[in-house]
């Protein structure tokens, strides 16, 4: 059966509820936190058993490692419900079981060492690790999560995983740089990065994808927010993606954001197994749909796949109206020349927004997609 036009999908993270964050850090929750828990449980129709189990864990003095793992799962239940109630067609757990998109995979990879926090922007920081030895996978780090999420949702699942290029780009690279011959420092850095990215693709990402597929996963989103950071690296992004998915049959999308997309062309046309590019557009949009004009390049290059269209900004609290979402979708459908190519999603992960704001934005996204569908009868 053909899928409806403009399916709505999540794209990755959602903020962790304050009761989750506090309890994982072994901090006490407040009555207000518990009030919020009950409020969302009611709104999302979370079962009494789940709420009761959550409250029991929150009442414990100290959580064991097993308790913490269960807390993350309980949080996942809330998030899956939130995405479902908002009306999304493809859901996942908002990365509730992961510390963060970079730190999580690196934690399961030998050969890395965390030194401390580095600024992303304003007062947002991330823990950055250095590659100090040959990367080796301890164990596939998304399969347990996927196995759990598939038991709690009846919707289609799309699993976001951080790509090899981004892991390489966001890491300091000591191990491979030390192995380079002395001489031109810039050239040595580039070669060191290439070696790291391809080793990560082959030895870390590919086994994870393989394990997910074996567990029944049929749709994987590879997150490469670092793509287009270095214009000269675009061929390496393509190479590392192809290396990551080599020999594996699955539906793949690639998420890229906050980049100069022009630089991606034509190289990304060589990512033959990528059936969907899921990009941030709304952040750069204006009344003339300037943010979406780049889509012309997909048409010019005869890209046969789909576009995961970022239709709302994830860095502000403005709740975009459904009519604006509709206009963005229709503009994209017209530019691509085929409405069936358009999926809708947030620009990027929603971890910096409150649930209240995220939920309202997602609901309007779904409403906007419905309005757009009306244009096609």
């Amino acid at each position: 059966m053909a899928e409806k036009l403009f399916p709505a999908q999540e794209i990755g993270s959602l903020a962790k509820p304050v009761w989750h964050v506090k309890k994982i850090a072994n901090r006490a929750t407040s009555p207000h936190d518990l009030q919020l828990l009950c409020q969302w449980a009611g709104q999302l129709a979370v079962s009494n058993e789940t709420v009761s189990e959550t409250e029991t864990l929150l009442a414990k003095q100290q959580l064991t490692a097993v308790d913490k793992e269960r807390m993350r799962q309980l949080s996942s239940i809330f998030v899956v419900k939130l995405f479902e109630q908002a009306g999304l067609d493809y859901v996942y757990n908002g990365e509730q079981t992961r510390v963060e998109m970079y730190q999580h995979p690196i934690t399961y990879t030998d050969g890395f060492k965390f030194y401390g926090e580095v600024r992303s922007f304003d007062n947002k920081y991330y823990l950055k690790a250095a590659c100090v030895g040959q990367p080796q996978l301890q164990k596939p780090y998304h399969t347990d999560e996927f196995n759990f999420v598939k038991t709690i949702s009846t919707k289609q699942l799309k699993v976001p995983i951080t790509g090899a290029y981004t892991l390489a780009d966001w890491s300091f690279n000591e191990h491979y740089l030390k192995r380079q011959p002395h001489g031109n420092y810039r050239q040595a850095s580039r070669e060191a990065k290439r070696e790291l990215a391809l080793d990560l693709a082959r030895d870390i990402i590919r086994p994870n994808i393989k394990s997910l597929v074996e567990a029944g996963c049929s749709f994987i989103q590879i997150d490469e927010p670092a793509a287009a950071t270095h214009p000269d690296d675009v061929p390496l992004i393509v190479e590392s993606f192809n290396e990551s998915v080599k020999g594996i049959g699955c539906r793949f999308s690639v998420h890229i954001c906050f980049s100069d997309y022009q630089r991606m062309f034509p190289h990304i046309m060589e990512m033959k197994k990528c059936g969907m590019f899921t990009w941030e557009f709304a952040n750069r949009d204006d009344n003339n749909r300037a943010g979406y004009k780049i889509l012309e390049l997909f048409r010019e290059h005869n890209y046969p796949g789909q576009i995961g269209l970022g239709v709302f900004n994830v860095h502000n609290d403005e709740i975009e109206q459904p009519e604006l979402i509709r206009d963005r979708i229709l503009f994209a459908a017209k530019t691509l020349g085929d409405p069936a190519k358009v999926y809708v999603n947030p620009d990027c992960g929603l971890r910096t927004r409150t649930w209240e704001v995220a939920f309202a934005k997602l609901q309007n996204m779904v409403a906007g997609a419905a309005l757009a569908r009306q244009e096609f009868g």
Partner: protein
């Protein structure tokens, strides 16, 4: 001869300051707690600079969220817009949006500077070209008009620098980045020259243009036309062998890679400095990281500062 080191940009914050900044954003810490955090980081940074021979001291732009924020928050006709990638880094800045004639008396800068009263210090400001090409221009419609307007607001800012400010360094990564990619046209250089003519008119302190994220050799002949006291060279992007004489100008040698955690040995830094100095012939120079140390966690940044300091001592010994 004492060979100084210098910091060139935004310094990483301590985990304590990161925490209190976050808490302040979430209304869990008040302004005084944030101020105490900034003061503590500044005291630590000043103490380390004094101990390691970084002079004149820089404030690490500890109050700045990005290189343009004090301006986009205070200059009339400008606001800050969308998050934009800072060159080829996993770091973002709020793009300044120019919507009207730019106006300021520059006095706001005193709210952002950190320095000990009366003690000499170095101010680090955005260079007018980098500022102009990083902004979204909705008003002036072209670099030829926007760049002089930005130079005017920077000049007004410089007029508000205290007398203890011995040096002003204008950060121009965009010159290096664009020139290395053949993106700088003759008309851009004309605008740069005109902008610096406006800017330098009001400066009593020594003026430096620090370039990074690109090969200095690609634009050395043009930039040498600027009437400043010295230039910063990114030696992680520039092959020292390709450098030519700086014709007596001072040099900020960007030796330590602020974008990789591998801490260079002092011997390596000293040897690379010696190679560069042989080519540029500068008598007065500073050992430095190639760019802002904010790309590193604080502990690594401090190790790099120590390595630079040791390299300076090696060079001093070798120069007798």
């Amino acid at each position: 001869m004492a060979i100084p080191c210098t910091l060139t940009g935004i310094h990483p914050r301590s985990s304590e300051l990161i925490r209190v900044s976050r808490d302040h954003d979430r209304a869990r810490a008040d302004a005084s707690a944030l101020e105490r955090g900034i003061a503590a980081d500044y005291a630590r940074l000043e103490e380390r600079q004094a101990k390691l021979g970084f002079a004149p001291a820089a404030d690490g732009l500890l109050r700045w969220q990005d290189l343009f924020r004090p301006f986009s928050e205070n200059v009339k006709g400008m606001r800050h817009g969308t998050l934009t990638r800072w060159f080829e880094n996993n770091t973002f800045f709020r793009q300044p949006v120019v919507e009207n004639d730019l106006q300021t008396d520059g006095s706001f800068i005193s709210n952002y500077l950190l320095h000990q009263p009366g003690k000499p210090f170095k101010a680090v400001l955005p260079g007018p070209y980098t500022f102009a090409v990083s902004a979204e221009d909705r008003h002036y419609h072209g670099l030829g008009k926007l760049l002089p307007a930005i130079a005017e607001i920077l000049a007004a800012t410089c007029r508000n620098l205290p007398a203890a400010c011995q040096a002003v360094q204008f950060n121009e990564p965009a010159i290096a980045y664009n020139a290395a990619r053949n993106l700088l046209r003759p008309a851009d250089w004309e605008a740069i020259m005109a902008g610096y003519a406006i800017l330098l008119g009001g400066i009593k302190a020594k003026a430096y243009v620090h370039t990074y994220f690109g090969d200095f050799a690609a634009f050395a002949s043009q930039i040498m036309e600027l009437p400043v006291d010295g230039f910063g060279i990114d030696l992680t992007e520039t092959d020292a062998q390709s450098l030519a004489s700086l014709a007596g100008k001072e040099a900020i040698l960007g030796l330590a890679d602020a974008r990789n955690s591998l801490v260079e040995t002092a011997d390596n830094l000293a040897s690379r400095a010696a190679t560069a100095l042989e080519k540029i012939g500068s008598k007065r120079f500073y050992l430095a990281p190639n760019c802002d140390l904010e790309f590193l966690p604080l502990s690594i940044a401090e190790q790099k500062m120590e390595a630079l300091s040791k390299a300076a001592r090696i060079l001093e010994a070798n120069h007798g």
